[in-house]
């Protein structure tokens, strides 16, 4: 296992800036997940790590060895980097049976007893019965298991995962991500995994990076990313999809007519944007005209869904702003409800930040291999 250091990485495709200055350090043996929408640059970063793309600026160091540095004209090609990689579309060699797919690289690199080693890895992914099948005779899940075995077989220094589960259905996805976590842990290999699925990212990551428009917005332990997102984009992309406008004076946050006392004075004063996770919203029941709740916030139930033992609510405020919330009891759609916000779970960002305009995912999807 080896560490990875990326410094000021820059990569352009024509006019598209796929990587706009990325710094990242992956400790030896760490499982890092890079999360981002399509067009965020995560695929490009992974391909740079793989040696399938060359940097335009900055450098890439594995342990103490510089493997890509355009300034010094250093570039170590993919085949010399001792990698394993699982591709989104599997990229199994269609003309080789399962054993040969896993064993080819071992044979080429004159690994003694390659067959035993390939068989052992295939057994660990549960495919010892299928060794003489060809890829087209396997299901999608089995194909991806072969790809996983192929990546592990060479005992690589670094494992790369390019959205490996995105072509599989939900049940299989859950099953395989658990296997991936177990196998990588067992092999102790440094791993970089990219995905656009936040649930998958939190499930796998020892350290989580959130990318957007060629930048790494935050890189931290998953719980820190979740609890203290660095930007509204990170908050939104990790599930804090409720957004309100507010104003902070000292330790008082005003949202609409409601004033909330914060635990401590907020860093940003004046106009703020408040990102709200469902668990920061307490649903207090039907609003009563003139009742005590009139001083609080009121919202209309847009949709109610039963989900994992409780109700999941989509709410709309009179200002048009939207929130999500959980509650143990059912309220009908269209009902006006009274809600309270939990101050210490709110995420406040100064309003002038430009980042939050980029929340409309899809608009910044760029064509090509920048995903």
């Amino acid at each position: 296992m080896k560490s990875i250091t990326i410094e000021a990485a820059v990569k352009r495709f024509g006019t598209v800036q796929a990587l706009a200055g990325i710094d990242l350090h992956v400790k030896a043996g760490e499982f890092v997940v890079l999360l981002g929408p399509s067009g965020s640059g995560k695929t490009t970063l992974l391909r740079v790590l793989a040696g399938l793309e060359r940097l335009d600026g900055g450098r890439l160091v594995v342990d103490d060895v510089v493997v890509d540095d355009p300034g010094q004209a250093v570039f170590v090609p993919a085949e010399k980097r001792k990698l394993g990689m699982v591709f989104q579309e599997y990229a199994l060699w269609p003309h080789l049976d399962v054993l040969s797919n896993v064993g080819l690289a071992l044979r080429q690199n004159r690994v003694s007893r390659w067959r035993e080693r390939a068989l052992a890895v295939l057994e660990s992914v549960g495919l010892s019965e299928q060794v003489d099948r060809y890829p087209h005779q396997l299901s999608g899940g089995q194909q991806q298991r072969v790809a996983l075995a192929r990546a592990l077989a060479g005992r690589p220094d670094i494992l790369l995962f390019d959205e490996p589960l995105s072509n599989l259905d939900a049940k299989l996805r859950e099953e395989l991500r658990l296997e991936i976590a177990g196998l990588v842990e067992q092999h102790g290999t440094t791993a970089v995994y990219i995905t656009h699925d936040q649930e998958e990212a939190f499930f796998l990551a020892a350290r989580l990076g959130v990318m957007h428009r060629g930048r790494l917005l935050q890189y931290d332990r998953p719980e820190n990313v979740y609890l203290r997102p660095a930007t509204p984009f990170v908050a939104d992309f990790t599930g804090a999809s409720g957004r309100l406008r507010g104003e902070v004076r000292g330790d008082v946050l005003q949202v609409g007519a409601t004033e909330l006392r914060l635990d401590r004075p907020a860093a940003s004063q004046g106009a703020v944007e408040v990102n709200v996770r469902p668990d920061a919203v307490a649903l207090r029941g039907a609003a009563v005209d003139g009742g005590p709740a009139a001083t609080g916030l009121e919202a209309t139930v847009v949709h109610c869904a039963f989900s994992v033992g409780r109700y999941h609510y989509w709410l709309r405020l009179s200002t048009g702003e939207r929130l999500e919330a959980y509650a143990p009891e059912r309220f009908e759609e269209g009902l006006r409800v009274s809600i309270e916000l939990v101050p210490d779970k709110l995420m406040l960002f100064a309003s002038e930040g430009s980042d939050h305009h980029a929340l409309d995912r899809g608009v910044d999807d760029v064509p090509g291999r920048v995903g």
């Binding site: 085949e79 591709f87 269609p94 003309h95 080789l96 040969s100 080819l104 690289a105 192929r150």
Partner: protein
Amino acid sequence: MAGLPLAALIGLLLVFPLASFLLVAFWPGLFGQGSGGFSLGAFRQALTGYAVQALGDSLVTGVATGALAVATGLFLSWLTQRTTFAARRAIDVLVWLLLLAPSYLLAIGWQMLLQRGGLLWQSGLDIGWLRDAFFGPVGVIVVLATKHFSFAYLAIAPSWRGIGGELEDAARVHGMGTRRRAALISRLLLPALVAGFAVVFAESIGDFGVAATLGATANFPLATYAIYQALYSNPLNFPLAAASSWLLIALTAVAVLLQARVNARAERYAVLTGRNRMARRVRLEGGTRVLAWVGVSVLAMVSLGVPVLATVATSFTKVLGNGLGAANLTLANYDEVLHAHSMITPFLYSGGLAVAAGTIAVVLSLALASLLGRKGGLARAIDLLLLGTMAMPGLVLAAGYIFAYNQSFAPLYGTSFLLGMAYVGGALPSISRVLLGPVTQVNRNLHEAARVHSVGGLGRLRHVTIPLLVLPLLYAWLLAASGIMFELPASELLYPPGQQPLAVALIWHVQNFDFGLSTALEVSAVFVVTGAVLLVRGLVLGLTPKGWRLAEAPSAGG
């Protein structure tokens, strides 16, 4: 970088010949063959008299052929894609046979049947009106349409797949009646119909095989034949040939642009993307089923059956016109084909050139395909150029070689080398496109997967590239070599004195009324080439590991 030498080769094989020839239309004295500086006189000539008549005939022929072929292709593709018609595989086989069959061979077959003194005549079934109709515009259009409907079929068939299933279900579920649904489908099929029409139109007006045989015999001059005459028969008029070529290319361009326009509009709907379940197939029953069988049988007979049977029958006939009795049957034609030096030579000559030029064309196409798979300005420029050349009549490119390489610095005209070069140049655009898919697939995913798993250059070549490309290369080679074997326009324009290629010999014998000999040579040649193709294919398939044959199987599910 391999791009620049390749670009230089493209320059020598395609750009320089085409430019040399086409510029003569504006500068008659460019290569010392005519006199004078810049002039538009050649275009004035090309727009008068015989030349413009031939161009008009070509235009009418192209439009009529396109319409007929699109109708036929639509009918056949509906049968194979949307019905339970039992002979769906047979339709596909017919389409591929027609795609490979040289148009002049089909025309000669019909000629043997219908001409005065032909097979029908000698069996006492001479039908005057049919003969008169055939040796004129109708015959030319029918033969070209039957040869080219395969293009329309291949253009239309995939879009039935694209618009099937859910789109049609959606129309039903939302209460659209049969007529509204039919209108919806035809709207969605329109881009494919126009594409099919454009391809057939371009192929028909660029065709030289039918123009040089049936068209010439029937006194129905077509533009390609008029160009050939201006190059080869007195009075020689090179500038006129070049100007007529410009006009022919302009007609092609109109069709191609029309198609591009319809396609661009269609892409805005973007309905052909994404997954789509196959539509339910219509069960053909009763009258419809009978009609389908009759239609397909008639089509198979008219397009392939009749010309093939007529050709074979003629090859066993002593004297065409002496009746179909046993006394008139003979093997003498085959005996002469197998023993006469004059018959074997053209076959061997074309065979040698086909193997050599086919091999070179495939090697260059492989290099081109890898270049085209990459991004960059040079790749895009070469791509456009190859596409442009593909739409250009083969005769025009062949004519270019006369001008480009009949120079003091390149005195190649009249050599087998130049003929071979022209074969290579003619094959490059289509063969490189045939290889583009497999090469791109291998280069991208599968190569990258090998690289990140530390498989080095030689290992990749041995275990990934070669296994995955052997079969595509084999098919490309068989396609190129068998195409060159029967190639007509370049052969006719560039063959060295005293060394007739196969196609030239076949037509020469027909023009000399040696019908039995010509058809016997043709049947033998087709027989030998088909045998050789099957043999080579069988050998390669037999000698390669099982997995290599899976190369074209999908590499990923999902």
